[in-house]
Amino acid sequence: MSVEGPIEPPLRLNELADVDSPEVVRAALSRFRRRTVVWSLWIVGALVAAFLLLPGYTSLRNDPHVLLARSPGTVSGAVIHEGPVQATVFEVVRVNKSVFAIHLFLTDSALKPEEQLTALNVTGMYSGGGLVPPGFSLSAGKSVEVWSVNRPGSPVVVIPLAIVTTVGRDLPPLRIDLQQLSIPSWIWR
């Protein structure tokens, strides 16, 4: 059907539009603002929750590499020889109020093939992160990266060493005097 021909006259019902209109715009705007605030809070909350719950983020926080790398400290580079062991003190860091740590590279300099060096009270690291249980063994011709985790108070850190072989042979402990190495006392004290 098409509507052609003269324009159809309107019904002129405009008197029906003559009513008192309630105030709806202000109420709508208020509701919109409230809704926006609530939504914003939800979005912010969701983002924060997602950020905190991200597995990668939490594992990052627990990663000892990251924890130690973020701790303030100083790089030393000092080399200490003790029997067949060469210890390079790479850095010393203050992890928190009750812990400081020494980052060491232990290298054997004179182990016999049948001998194995054992150090106690140090913590090695897997290549993927995570600490190995305290204590480790170093075979001849190899080196290992370890952390010695200590309570603050003394500048001297003692790491017991032993060589395990078919014939046991005791060694004097490895002594690292941080004061002597000019490590700032605020780290180890």
């Binding site: 059907m1 405009n14 008197e15 709508a28 919109f32």
Partner: protein, 152 residues
Amino acid sequence: VDLEQIFRAHQKEIFVYFLRTLGDRDRAEDLAQETFLRACGSALRFRGDSSVRTWVFSIARRVLVDHYRRRAPEVLTEPPEQPRPTDPGARIDVERALALLPVAAREAIVMVDVIGLSPSEAADAIGATPNAFRVRLHRARQQFREVYGDER
């Protein structure tokens, strides 16, 4: 741009649209508020392809459709709104005549003959082609005249 000022310019006609289409003042107020609430949310997406008036009416139209969807069983069974006895006589007849029309016809008449939208604006608002809307309006006016009489 002051949204409140823009919306306020259309507040009354949006309220009248719902009032005269539904015949219920409280519901009309709720839906008018809902219309402007939705308009706030979509204001940033308004590209100015149509006038603000047409845009606001198109939102009101969707609010009305949603309202009917939600209340379909009740709307289909509820009797047409009866005029209030305190209204002036002539106006009661007009309102009763409008209330007796199908919703689509009532809406077309309210938009054009009560509120004063042009048929093109009304067509835009309800998403119909101008020709289709003119046909609907023509039929609606015929139905109204049949119900109300031919005095107008």
